[in-house]
Each structure stands twice: as structure tokens, then as C-alpha cells.
């Protein structure tokens, strides 16, 4: 293999902090070994920020864990190749060497700040473990990450802090050890939109000084706002390396181009389905001697399934790409550009759901002597009605009361005050955030979808036919009827959950953050599916999300919820063009746009 790193950042004298050569990792999952990383090579230089971009399952998280030596032991990792971290070889190194590297050279910030801190240990003790720091230094590092009142924070237990505060604590904890390499694995996806941007700024500002950052993300726009270089990963292989601005402007690999096309923001066309990455098609090939993307690639030629392409310099930018036909990528028709627009507005007269002055509070804090707890209002007199066939998006940050409102609408919670009127014989159906935990693991997909038909018919052939129709409706192969949820991908599980919701057609479908845990391409696919279904079946929808860009694409009206009160309800174009409240403006500003001018 040729030298793969595209050296835009280093000077002739600097040595790389991290030099990875031909790294391959296989893990054993449920008895089967699978290759999660395949021939990865790249260098990382001091002060440089490199983004690792790919869909879920592309192996981007595994790279970080391999460098740390923290791949889960029960999956019996087998690592080959070379990882030189500040000149020390880590592949095949003993536990002591790896531990020394973790202690002094490489630190990581994980994806989910809510679970990354020990719940029974104060922040101060956890920070002291980081490098044996004094109290003054702990307070200093906490205040450097913009946390007010660092002494109070230091003495708190993690559950007293918000997600954003915890992520700042984790950043302070990592930075105070002055690592040479910081691995940030989607550090902002679990946070509210307004917090996300602050965390990125913090990383950029504090890590610039002689710390190299490996920034793992699925969103090229987020990468573009932070990184110098980008590595695009597909199926454990690097398919493109280049300067972030080059790749974002002129992607050389069809997969990078597809990823870029699939992301949506305020500029996306909301009158037609969103462009998505092409689905897997055709029979699988022996990927040892083929391009892993060949089965999805719109440019695939016969040679793509016969030769494994190496990373070679490309004509469209200064980087390299692993594609035999990269010169054709610029001519790749924008997928979906010729897709048919959605049919015209179909909101009808008649209401499917009417919430009048709904209020709800939850107990918080310690119990009093008699076991009572203080009540904290979560919803304060919310009134909202959804017309038949209409999609209303409910937008707000965590803690605003979105999910509570959805549960009240679904009839899963009773409101304390106010009135809920439903105009349907059926209770509304709900699509939850995590499709995997929303399916019972030991029942087949067909059994779970067909359960709702039991009341209608005892005829099992009839039920199977209806389940097959429902699976077709959501774009799943009816063969999957007999599969268990664990045999399906996340995207397929989400489709199955939707099929369960629509097999007996409800007038109202409730969606609770159905895309927040998904990568861009899967999110776009899911939005398309829901948009298509509601139009085809004439369903009304309540779509709860924290992402205004998604709300704009799916909804006819957007309702902004803040601290249990609706602050603004308007149609998407009006809301974005002329937001009435400061809160809405801050939500709008927090959506990352793909802007290559920004950053440097």
C-alpha cells in the first residue's frame, strides 16, 4: 500500500502523535468472527483535528477503542498491524504498556455523558483519579470548561448535573491529564442542540494546544465545523482521506458523496422525499477482493466486485480515495433530485386530537416524613389540537415536557388537569426512540406486528397476509416476518415498529424522537418513510423531536415547547423566517449547516 496519509498539516520536522499502519481488527459476535477494521492506515499530528466519519457499524468507534486497548474482552478481539502512539507500539503490547498509554498519552470523551461518570462517586474524586490533581487544579479545569461554581460541581454526584455539565466535566477530566491524543466519540450527539455547539467550541479552543484530536462523528457538517482532515470509513475500511473542505466540496468517493447528499438541514427541499444513501442491492460479493461499497454504489462496474481498490490520489482534490471510478463521482446525479414531490397538502377538516389546558407534574426531591415529595410541574396548561391528516412537530430541549405530552396524547399517562379528546376508536399508536428496545427480543417480527390483529380475527392465514402487507407498506421484505429482532438492523427494526403501528390504521401516529439516535442517512430514510406513510394512509402525526431541521421537513406545523409551555406554534416556513421568541431563535441557530467557509 502506498503512503496513505494526506499530509496537509505537518511540517517536515514534526513527528506524528499517532501512526497507524494496516490495522485490522476482528471481533467475535455471538460465536461468529467479523472484521470490524480492515487495513486502516493514517497519521495524526500534534494540534491536528481529524474527523472519522461513517454510518453506524462502519467501525469508527472501534478505532478509538483499539488505540486505547479497551475493546471488549468478551468479544475476543484479534488485532494486527501497527499502532505507534508517540513512538510506542501498542499492537501486541502488554497490559502495563497499554495502561501507561491510557494514563499519560491518550484520553477519550465518550458518546453518552449520562452514563460515563460513576454515579456513586463525587466529581472531585473522579477528577482526582485522572491525574492526582489538587483541589485548586480541579476547580481551575472545571471553570476552564465554562462551568460556573466549580467547587459546588466538584462536590456533586453526577446525577445532580445536566448532560451538558457532565460532558464538560468529562472534557475537563480528559484535558487535565494533558494527553497527546484526545479521542472524542460523538461527544455531542446525546446533548441538546444548544449545548452541542458549545461543546464543539470548547473542544476546538482547549484542545488546539499540542493535543491531537480524533473526532468521531456520523455528520460531515459537524466534522466540517471542527476538523482539519477527514477520514471517511465504510465497512471498516478507509474509503477517502482528505482536507475536510476538499471532501465536503468535491467528494471523490461515491460513498462520501452519498453521505453528503443524505444529510438534511434548513436548506433541504421539504416538498419531496429527502435523498438517501442507496440501499444494499444484488447478491453479496466476496469483499476480500472487492470494493465493500460495490453492492450499494450507483457507479458500480463489474471490476468493482473483482478488485479491491487501494487508496490512491484523486483528481478532484489533494487527498486520496479508494475507488476505481472516482473520476465519475462528480457526475453522480444527486440522488433523489428527480424524485417525485409529495402530493399536495392533505390536511382535512376534522380533529383527531384535542388537548385543552393539559397540566402534569412529577414528584421530585427527597421524601418528607410522611413519604410525600414536592411536585414539579412538567406541563403547564398546554392546548394543542391536531387536524385529521396533519403532522405537528413538537420541538424543545430535554426536560421541556415533550415526552410527557406525547404520553398523555397516547393515553399512557393521565393528565392532572385539562382535557384530552380523541376522535378515534383506536388509541393512537406510538413509535419510540429506540426501535431495538421497543421490540420484544424473543417474539418474531411477524408475531409482534400481528398481535394487534388478534382481536380482529382468529384466522392465522389472514393475519399472516395482513402482516405481509404491513411489511410491504414500510418497505420490508415480508420474508422477515419470521425473523427475530436481533437478526434485523436498526433501520429495519424501526420499520418493523412503524409497521406495528400502522397495521390497524390509526388516525394518529405518535413518534417520540424516532430519529435522534440515528446517523444521517438512516434518519433521512426514516423521515421519508413516515412522510410517505402519513400521506398514503391519511394519518395525522405528532412528531416529537429536538431537531428543528427534521421538524421542518416532516411537519405541517411546528409547536415549540419550553419549560412545559408552548411558546410558539406556526407553520415551518413562518417559524424559521420570523421566529417570535428568543428561545426559537436559539434553537434555529444551533442546527449545524454544511458551510465550508466556516471553521478556519
Amino acid at each position: 500500500m502506498t503512503t496513505l496519509s494526506h499530509r496537509t498539516f505537518e511540517t517536515a520536522t514534526t513527528k506524528p502523535v499517532l501512526a497507524i499502519k494496516d490495522l485490522s481488527v476482528t471481533l467475535s459476535r455471538e460465536g461468529r468472527r467479523s472484521r470490524v477494521l480492515d487495513g486502516i492506515s493514517f497519521d495524526l499530528f500534534p494540534g491536528e483535528i481529524v474527523a472519522l466519519v461513517g454510518e453506524s457499524g462502519s467501525g469508527k468507534t472501534s478505532i478509538g477503542l483499539t488505540i486505547q486497548g479497551l475493546l471488549p474482552r468478551e468479544s475476543q478481539p484479534h488485532v494486527t498491524g501497527s499502532i505507534l502512539l508517540t513512538g510506542i507500539e501498542l499492537v501486541g503490547a502488554g497490559a502495563h504498556t497499554l495502561r501507561h498509554a491510557r494514563r499519560h498519552v491518550v484520553r477519550a470523551i465518550s458518546q453518552d455523558p449520562m452514563s460515563a461518570l460513576n454515579p456513586t462517586m463525587t466529581i472531585r474524586r473522579q477528577m482526582r483519579e485522572s491525574n492526582g490533581a489538587s483541589n485548586a487544579s480541579i476547580a481551575d479545569w472545571l471553570s476552564r470548561t465554562g462551568l460556573p461554581d466549580p467547587d459546588r460541581i466538584a462536590d456533586s454526584l453526577p446525577h445532580r448535573l445536566s448532560g451538558g455539565q457532565r460532558q464538560r466535566v468529562l472534557i475537563a477530566m480528559a484535558m487535565m491529564a494533558k494527553p497527546k491524543l484526545l479521542i472524542a466519540d460523538e461527544p455531542n450527539t446525546a446533548l441538546d442542540v444548544t449545548t452541542q455547539q458549545q461543546i464543539l467550541d470548547l473542544l476546538r479552543d482547549h484542545a488546539r494546544e499540542h493535543t491531537a484530536i480524533l473526532f468521531v462523528t456520523h455528520d460531515l457538517a459537524v466534522a466540517a465545523s471542527l476538523a482539519d482532515r477527514v477520514l471517511v470509513l465504510y465497512a471498516g475500511r478507509i474509503v477517502e482521506i482528505g482536507h475536510i473542505r476538499d471532501v465536503v466540496r468535491n467528494p471523490a468517493h461515491p460513498y462520501s458523496a452519498g453521505l453528503l447528499a443524505a444529510r438534511f438541514d434548513f436548506n433541504s427541499d421539504r416538498l419531496r422525499p429527502l435523498p438517501t444513501l442507496p440501499p444494499e442491492r444484488g447478491h453479496s460479493v466476496n469483499i476480500e477482493s472487492a470494493c465493500a461499497y460495490a453492492t450499494r454504489c450507483p457507479l458500480a462496474q463489474p471490476d468493482c466486485t473483482a478488485i479491491r481498490p487501494a487508496l490512491l490520489p484523486v483528481s478532484s482534490h489533494r487527498g486520496t480515495a479508494a475507488c476505481l471510478h472516482s473520476e465519475q463521482t462528480p457526475f453522480l446525479a444527486k440522488p433523489g433530485a428527480f424524485s417525485k414531490p409529495w402530493p399536495a397538502k392533505m390536511t382535512q377538516e376534522g380533529t383527531v386530537l384535542k388537548l385543552s389546558n393539559v397540566g402534569k407534574s412529577y414528584p421530585t426531591g427527597a421524601r418528607s416524613f410522611w413519604g410525600f415529595r414536592r411536585l414539579k410541574p412538567v406541563l403547564k396548561s398546554v392546548s394543542l389540537s391536531i387536524k385529521s391528516g396533519e403532522c405537528v412537530a413538537l420541538v424543545g430541549e430535554s426536560g421541556a415536557g415533550k415526552s410527557t405530552l406525547l404520553r398523555i396524547a397516547a393515553g399512557l399517562l393521565a393528565p392532572e388537569s385539562g382535557k384530552v379528546s380523541r376522535f378515534d376508536d383506536l388509541l393512537p399508536q406510538v413509535v419510540f426512540q429506540d426501535p431495538i428496545s421497543a421490540l420484544t427480543p424473543w417474539l418474531s417480527i411477524g408475531e409482534q406486528i400481528g398481535e394487534r390483529l388478534r382481536a380482529l380475527s382468529r384466522d392465522s392465514d389472514y393475519r399472516r397476509r395482513r402482516v405481509g402487507e404491513a411489511l410491504n407498506l414500510v418497505g420490508l421484505d415480508p420474508v422477515l416476518m419470521d425473523a427475530l429482532p436481533s437478526e434485523l438492523s436498526v433501520g429495519q427494526c424501526q420499520r418493523a415498529v412503524v409497521a406495528r403501528g400502522v397495521i390497524v390504521r390509526p388516525k394518529l401516529l405518535l413518534c417520540d424522537e424516532p430519529i435522534s439516535a440515528m446517523d444521517v442517512s438512516l434518519a433521512a430514510t426514516t423521515l421519508n418513510l413516515l412522510g410517505d406513510l402519513r400521506r398514503r394512509l391519511g394519518m395525522a402525526m405528532l412528531f416529537v423531536t429536538h431537531d428543528l431541521a427534521a421538524a421542518r421537513i416532516i411537519a405541517d406545523r411546528i409547536a415549540v415547547l419550553k419549560d412545559g409551555e408552548l411558546v410558539e406554534v406556526a407553520d415551518p416556513d413562518t417559524l424559521l423566517a420570523a421566529p417570535q421568541t428568543a428561545y426559537t431563535r436559539s434553537l434555529i441557530a444551533a442546527v449545524p449547516a454544511l458551510d465550508t467557509r466556516q471553521g478556519r
Partner: protein, 328 residues
């Protein structure tokens, strides 16, 4: 403070309910305490006098009220069998039982640690699993008999009956292990240790298996948590990760299991004291059952009830110490 008041109030309620239940048994049990005292051939006048003396002819409510009144004054009544105040009997046998229970609990806690480590180290090993199932499924009367049979009768390594090989030794606390040291007779302590080992082991085995299993399961869950990865990511040693981040977060479920097992230990005491001839409350209770000695049974039940509430409280306190998010 609020917690303590709640606990005491709870204890009083539990004791009242318990006393009532045990008291009600009196009218259900077909055995005749009067005949038990007087013997089958006693003349009717004697029987009548004893009936009068025990207040058996009064209405149940009156008897219960009288019982509660006496209870407040620490009077548990007169044992039908020994003809002594039940309180005095209990006072005499309590130290032996407490000693056995405490040693069993400590041994059980140690065993559960060992069991958890073994299961953790040899994950999925058939040998360990068989051993655990074997020990876990052996009823306590069988394991007590087996231990006595092998280590006392066959091998003769350890004594299998009584508390002490010395006769006439009495110490200030009634706990032979401690009294030996206090009175400058280490030989007594060693001998007491030999005597207590087998019965304590019989009682500790089920604790060790159950709590060890629960600890191992909890530890497995905790060690796959993101915060353990954070701790490892800081370059901490595995020991430090296990002690500071693993054990403490895994403590809650095993502690609950521990409190459940200690409750079962009270039942086990009856069997084990009987098998090993251990002169404690368990043996006293067994003898009281045999002679339908209701005041004694009631007294022992009350003592075990109080002990259980104390154990439960200690477990709750240690749970909240392990997890500061739990408010007492």
C-alpha cells in the same frame, strides 16, 4: 433522624403484628399446655389450678391485652416447660445464638466474596457451576448432618457437639470467643472456635452461594457500564477499577440478597443448633415446640423479629452508604 424514628415506629408495628399472630396460634394449636405441664395422669384439681394460674380460661382479647401489658414491662411470661421466666431463659441462651449467628454471617460474607471471585475468574466453568448448584440445592439439615458426619464422626478433625470442651467456664459477656481473650484463657477461645466452625459453616454456605451469585451478576453488569470504561480510560489499575468503580456500584442487589439470607438463617439456626447440640435459642425453641410451650415460642419469635429488624436496618444503612443517591 427522621429515618431512625421511622425505623423504630416500623419495628413497633412489626412486633405488634407478630405478637398477635403468634398469640393467635395459641387457640389453633391442638396441643394442651396444661397437660404438658401437669402430665397425662394429673388429678383434675391440679389441672384446674394450672389452668387458673396460666389464665387460659379468660377471653382471648383479655389474654392478649394482659400479654401486651406484661410485654411492656419486659415480662414474656413463664415458660410452661422450664417453669422459669421466658425472659430469663432467653437471656441465658441468647449469647450462644448471637455468637453463632454473627460468626455465620461473617463467614457467609467472606464465602460470598470467594464465590463471586471464583465465578468471575472461571466464568462459565462447568465445575464451578456444578459446585454452586450442589451447595445451593442442599437443604440445611442435610449439609449440617453431612458436615457433622465427615469432619466430626469420620475424620474427627473438629468437635461436633456443644459450644465448649471445658466444663464450668463462664465469662462476662457469654460470648466464649471473646470471653476467652478477656479472661486470659486463649485456649478457651481456640476451643470455642473449633466448636463453632462446623455449625457456622453449615449456616454460612447458603449465604455464600446466594450472595456470591448475586454479587457476581451485579459485578458483570457494572463492569460493562460506560463509567467503567471511563475509569479504565484514565489508566487506572484493574484492582482500582474493581474496588472503586465496580464493587460499590454492584453492592445494592447483593446486600438485599444478604438481608434475605440472614432472615432465612434464623430458621436455619433451629435445625443447626439441634444437629450440633448448640445450647442456644434455636435449641430452646425446638424444645419449646415439642412441649407446646407457647410463651417460650412467642418470646423467641419476638427476639428473632427484633434481630431481623436490626439486620434489615443495618443493610439499608450500608446500601445508602454504598450509593449516596439513596436517601434514608
Amino acid at each position: 433522624m427522621t429515618y431512625l424514628i421511622k425505623r423504630v415506629a416500623g419495628a413497633v408495628v412489626v412486633l405488634l403484628v407478630m405478637s398477635f399472630i403468634v398469640f393467635c396460634l395459641q387457640s389453633i394449636i391442638p396441643a394442651d399446655p396444661v397437660r404438658a405441664v401437669a402430665g397425662p395422669s394429673a388429678p383434675p384439681e391440679t389441672v384446674e389450678a394450672i389452668r387458673e394460674q396460666l389464665g387460659i380460661d379468660d377471653p382471648t382479647v383479655v389474654q392478649y391485652g394482659r400479654f401486651l401489658q406484661r410485654l411492656v414491662h419486659g415480662d414474656l411470661g413463664i415458660s410452661v416447660r422450664t417453669r422459669r421466666p421466658v425472659a430469663a431463659d432467653i437471656w441465658q441462651y441468647l449469647p450462644a445464638t448471637l455468637e453463632l449467628a454473627l460468626v455465620s454471617i461473617v463467614l457467609g460474607a467472606a464465602l460470598s466474596g470467594v464465590m463471586a471471585l471464583l465465578q468471575f475468574r472461571f466464568m462459565g466453568s462447568t465445575g464451578i457451576r456444578l459446585a454452586i448448584i450442589g451447595i445451593g440445592s442442599t437443604p440445611i439439615f442435610l449439609s449440617a448432618l453431612l458436615l457433622a458426619y465427615f469432619f466430626w464422626f469420620r475424620l474427627g478433625w473438629l468437635p461436633g457437639a456443644g459450644r465448649l470442651g471445658f466444663s464450668g467456664f463462664t465469662g462476662p459477656t457469654g460470648f466464649n470467643l471473646i470471653d476467652g481473650i478477656l479472661t486470659g484463657r486463649p485456649d478457651v477461645s481456640v476451643d470455642a472456635l473449633k466448636h463453632i466452625f462446623l455449625p457456622a459453616l453449615a449456616l454460612a454456605l447458603p449465604i455464600g452461594v446466594a450472595v456470591g451469585r448475586s454479587l457476581n451478576g451485579a459485578l458483570h453488569d457494572v463492569l460493562s457500564q460506560a463509567y467503567v470504561r471511563t475509569a479504565r480510560g484514565k489508566g487506572l489499575s484493574e484492582t482500582s477499577v474493581l474496588l472503586h468503580h465496580g464493587l460499590r456500584n454492584a453492592a445494592s442487589a447483593p446486600l438485599s440478597m444478604f438481608s434475605l439470607q440472614v432472615r432465612l438463617l434464623f430458621g436455619g439456626l433451629l435445625v443447626v443448633e439441634r444437629v450440633f447440640g448448640w445450647p442456644g435459642l434455636g435449641l430452646y425453641a425446638v424444645q419449646a415446640f415439642a412441649s407446646a410451650d407457647l410463651p417460650a415460642v412467642l418470646g423467641v419469635a419476638m427476639v428473632f423479629g427484633i434481630l431481623y429488624i436490626m439486620v434489615n436496618t443495618l443493610v439499608e444503612i450500608s446500601q445508602s452508604l454504598a450509593d449516596p443517591r439513596i436517601d434514608l
